[in-house]
């Protein structure tokens, strides 16, 4: 049904701000509620109470992993981005190589490489086995943490590289012209400006990071996903636990997006 030429022609018109209450949306919502009700009524959810506590612990584990790996990953990303913009050649190459390797191989593989590869290598050295580190090294989460953190650092490092390079030169020049020392300039102008520029992408990267966390289940870290995997194998249900899992991640992503939007709105930024 092509009646209005203006709508079939490929010239973009931004959609009007529409309310939630338009008829087709109400209809869609009704469908959604219907599907949801069907899922509640016709699918098996009797296992929920039994696994409730574990599920909460798993979600907590996921959140802790997300928060710590993103935080430390970001700390690492700042120097990674910075040296790629201004560093001396060797450091530049090193940072670039690191980012390329991490971004060029699957996280799952990195995780296994660390845990089953490096981890079992450690065990062959009695010195390590006897050291105070061993109680930590024999656990799984340090490997999961490291892999996730490095991955975040590599992806965010690329983002920071662009953000650092994108800070207008004039603003840095102004800082120099007023006699700022190099470190003051970095701390007061360059870094905050780069972070401000990278905030929208940081949001996306954090959502991606959240979505990467389930991989740690493959190295026995009990996160949300591995609790659900356990439910699946205990109950032999295919869909219900996975649907619940999808819902959990949906909610977590929603929370992240809202939190970042709040953060972004604190410093107005026009087009930069």
């Amino acid at each position: 049904m092509m009646k209005d030429e203006a709508t079939i022609l490929p010239a973009y018109k931004p959609p009007k701000a529409r309310s939630l209450l338009e008829p087709h949306r109400l209809f869609l919502m009704a469908v959604f509620v219907g599907v949801f009700a069907c899922a509640v009524v016709f699918m098996r959810w009797d296992w929920l109470p039994k696994y409730q506590d574990r599920l909460i612990a798993g979600i907590w584990q996921t959140l802790v992993l997300l928060a710590t790996t993103s935080f430390f990953g970001f700390l690492l990303a700042v120097p990674l981005g910075l040296v790629q913009v201004t560093g001396p050649r060797p450091l530049k190459w090193l940072a670039n190589g690191f980012c390329t390797i991490i971004r060029g191989t699957p996280l799952l593989l990195q995780l296994w490489l660390l845990y089953y590869g490096l981890g079992s290598l450690f065990a062959q050295f009695p010195e390590i086995r006897q050291s105070f580190m061993w109680p930590y090294l024999r656990q799984a989460w340090p490997y999961g943490f490291t892999a996730l953190m490095l991955s975040f650092a590599a992806y965010e490092g690329e983002v920071m590289r662009g953000a650092f390079a994108g800070v207008p030169r004039g603003e840095l020049e102004a800082a120099r012209a007023f006699g700022m020392r190099r470190f003051t300039m970095f701390r007061r102008i360059w870094l905050p400006r780069a972070i401000q520029r990278s905030l929208p992408t940081l949001n996306g990267e954090t959502v991606l990071q959240l979505k990467s966390t389930p991989l740690v289940a493959t190295i026995t870290v009990m996160d949300t996903y591995s609790v659900i995997a356990k439910v699946r194998s205990d109950t032999l249900l295919t869909y219900e636990p996975l649907l619940l899992l999808a819902l959990i991640y949906l909610v977590l992503t929603g929370i992240l997006v809202v939190a970042f939007r709040y953060l972004e709105n604190r410093v107005p930024n026009r087009g930069a």
Partner: protein
């Protein structure tokens, strides 16, 4: 029918029963068993590797038609799928590092980290009998990784099918680090009635064929013949 039967095996290596070799071919006792049973039942069977974790959904969604992957017959599984008669049954053992002395009992495992493969009868058994005494039960996607972590010192004990454990202990890695700590006390309610061919509930005809074939190869000596290459005892069990 002309359609071949797709036999699902766990994609993760489970020697000596099923594991891929360097040419990508599947080898092991269970592969020989499949060949024998299918030949006997005049069925054309092809091996289809599936993740262990998803092997039952794969059966119910018809990606495969039968499971021959050391899957024990349990009440819980019988709610969802059907099984043929058992085709082997072995005790459940526990192994640990040579440097530590303990037994396969709740007292022996006190404070230890116990490794099991996820969604197996062993995982369930450990949950039921050892949960309160051990410091942690770690669930692995594959048996192999559990064994590896035992060698790497990241778990203190591994519980599994005694035969698999034996084959691990016979390997270079196993010989060096670990030894058997004995078998656990039987609990038929959990450990089940041996390993059977997993089938969809409505496939009674296929089930009948398989049952007859198992009986036949047991009777005509084929079963013993190919088993001898792998085990020095009767894997069929009591």
């Amino acid at each position: 029918s002309a359609e071949p039967i797709k036999v699902g095996v766990a994609a993760e290596p489970y020697p000596p029963f099923t594991s891929p070799d360097a040419s990508g071919k599947w080898v092991g006792w269970e592969v020989e068993f499949m060949n024998a049973v299918c030949a006997e039942a005049k069925l054309e069977c092809v091996i289809t590797p599936v993740a262990w974790d998803g092997i039952i959904p794969a059966l119910t969604t018809k990606k495969i038609d039968a499971i021959m992957s050391s899957m024990s017959i349990t009440d819980e599984r019988l709610k969802t799928i059907d099984f043929s008669d058992k085709y082997y049954n072995t005790p459940t053992g526990i192994i640990g590092p040579k440097s530590e002395k303990f037994t396969a009992t709740p007292e022996g495992l006190k404070g230890k980290i116990l490794g099991v493969q996820v969604s197996t009868i062993h995982a369930e058994y450990a949950q039921k009998h050892f949960k309160d005494v051990v410091s942690e039960i770690k669930e692995y996607q594959t048996q192999d990784e559990a064994n590896n972590d035992l060698a790497a010192g990241r778990v203190d004990a591994v519980q599994a099918d005694a035969i698999t454990l034996d084959s691990f202990l016979a390997s270079d890695q196993g010989k060096e680090c670990c030894e058997s700590k004995g078998n656990v006390v039987d609990d038929p309610a959990v450990l089940g009635a041996g390993v059977g061919i997993g089938l969809r509930k409505d496939e009674t005809e296929l089930k009948g064929k398989f049952n007859a074939a198992i009986k036949a190869i047991r009777a005509n000596g084929t079963y013993d013949k190919f088993s001898k290459a792998y085990f020095d005892f009767d894997v069929y069990g009591k």
